[in-house]
Amino acid sequence: MQTSPIHTKTYLREALADSRLREAVDKATQTALKKRADKVEQVPWWEDLRHQAHHIKKETLDHLDTYLERFTERCKGNGIIVHWARDAEEARRLILEVMHEKGVKKVVKSKSLTTEELHLNHFLAENGVESLETDLGEYIVQLLDQIPSHLTAPALHLTRVDVGRIFHEKLGVPYTEDPDELLQIARARLREKFLDADMGISGVNFAMAEEGSFCILENEANGFLTVGLPRIHLAVMGIEKLIPDLASLAPFLKLLPISATGQKITSYLHLIGGPRQAATGEGPEEVHLLLLDNGRSSILADGQLRETLFCIRCGACLNVCPIYQQVGGHAYGWVYMGPIGITLIPQYLGAAEGRYAPYVSSLCGACYEICPVRINIPHHLLKLRNRIVESHSTGVLERAAFRGFGWLASHPRLYRFATWFPGKLQQLLPGERAFRAPGYGAERALGRFDRRGFRKRYKSWLRNRPHSAAQGKEERS
């Protein structure tokens, strides 16, 4: 199922009308936030860690060319086969070439958002390669032909009843809604596939330039079986995933699991620095690493928006976002969702296709407060909104309306009249009725205008307001 952020308004309406979805998302996000808060409390140096992580990402991305060269050089020294792809199409072609060359027919995948960016499963299916997601949540959404609805919990939008029905319908097993039984069904089916697969495809959480190695964090051990059992391992990473060295991984190992799932560390952390050594006999014969640009270098070109590439995909900003909590991930129409997603959508897909995305936010700032790498998301959203307006991607009516408002606001007398007049006009309406606002009033009650007008009302409020805390402080100082 292909979706696009251009239809986000429709998706939002559908999501808001789905009370089961809202209940599932609300429950899951609240649980995740609570678990996170409990663990953050145990790390009094949390704020320093956030600063440090931000600094490490800044250092790496400000010198990305140097780090990329060093990293790929070291990878080659370690026997890792490096591929470069400018865009999704090139990446898909390269992956298929490797598969053809190596006779790959069956693939197991561990969760990777970067491969979602490539629509890899669909592409492989079209080319006769069976590609199976092995993370439980991702396995469930693949059965539904959906994309994940959360960065770290792909099936967060589904309840156990939903999953029970999906397994019953798609796998032909008796209905059960017991999560443990559901897991056992998936485990039994996937274990066979792990042993049978020619290739394991994974993403990359962090790549260490100095060592020429990379790491993957996971909990289910599906990652272990994906990267460790098949004869070929292919990892796909965006060029922004680099950090200088293994020592600089330490703060991220604290920040990512706590922010994502409220764990001090994930159950498994795989450090991969090359294919199997003959003496051990374990691990893949070949490790391929595909470095993907796909728009990242153009994001890098803005000295501020560059920060959106710092994202470590923990999903904390989704959990805390009052909009995500209501609508879940599919409403955004793309693989990256929530507050960080709406900064990435117009940057990756362009101002025309992504023109609605930066507005799916209340700018409350909770995402910035929770972000483990201190990405100033609200600030970037304003900049992106500005960019969208300047690119003339907004509608004719909207542009005309704002031009009109701009003109009015720069003519004080007319402005005064315009804020006074509706209140007067309203008095002609019978009873306590308010004006109708097309497209707005259907779902919300529009209040009545104050008959005095805003300026008079504000002045009288200023005169009569009780002494506020702020004022008291001023008087004391």
Partner: protein, 223 residues
């Protein structure tokens, strides 16, 4: 040199001509973290073992601190008596072999002695594994298993139950200490294991034993 490589590097270089406008970290950040971590680190091996045990138990792992390797072997036998395993794989490490030496023969085998293809399918059917960790990280209760010659790392993940031996001298306080090991460069492939495998993908309900072990028992031997 591929065209794509050159093209991407050229794009990155062009992008970096625009200077970064991002805030710097406050002065002393790294020093404050270091001091805080140091203050939270136990001073001796006994303290590290206690911390390791506590952390592992909070993630549903089991941990026993034992006085000697003989005591660890006894404990292993006792645990296997309480929860018999139809088959038991050893990772091939001498310490694992020693700990399992007194176990009744039959179902016990050395996974590292099998050719990889056979090893893989046999381990996937094996009930329990005995492995020896290269390190233990006290602040998270994590085992570090390097993929090294003559040893099976798969034996630590494919069976349902894992018994892991950890000599106390291999306890490190943190990941930083692991990254700083003098031989780190020679061991690039490794896995850190913290508790049994798990998932919370259905309604955020935690279930142990996803695609890996359901039970993880660590036997720390004080040296």
């Amino acid at each position: 040199m591929s065209h794509a490589r050159e093209a991407i590097l050229a794009r990155v270089r062009a992008a970096l001509e625009h200077p970064s406008h991002l805030p710097e970290a406050p002065e002393g950040t790294a020093a404050r973290i270091e001091a805080a971590v140091r203050a939270a680190t136990p001073a001796d091996v006994r303290g590290l073992a206690t911390r390791f045990k506590r952390e592992l138990e909070t993630v549903s792992g089991e941990c026993y601190v034992l006085s000697s390797s003989a005591a660890a072997a006894d404990k292993l036998a006792e645990l296997l008596q309480a929860a018999p395993a139809a088959s038991l794989a050893l990772d091939g490490d001498p310490l694992s072999r020693a700990a399992a030496a007194a176990l009744p023969d039959g179902a016990v085998y050395d996974a590292s002695a099998l050719p990889p293809a056979e090893r893989r399918s046999r381990l996937a059917e094996t009930a329990a594994g005995v492995v020896t960790a290269d390190f233990g990280l006290a602040d998270t209760g994590s085992l570090v298993i390097r993929f090294t010659a003559g040893r099976s790392g798969w034996a630590g993940v494919l069976p349902e139950t894992i018994y892991a031996l950890l000599p106390s001298g291999r306890l490190l306080p943190t990941f930083q200490a692991l990254a700083a090991q003098p031989d780190a460069a020679a061991h690039r492939n490794m896995v850190l294991i913290t508790g049994p495998s798990r998932t919370a993908d259905i309604e955020k309900i935690l279930i142990l034993g996803a695609h890996g072990p359901r039970r993880l028992v660590v036997l720390i031997t004080m040296e």
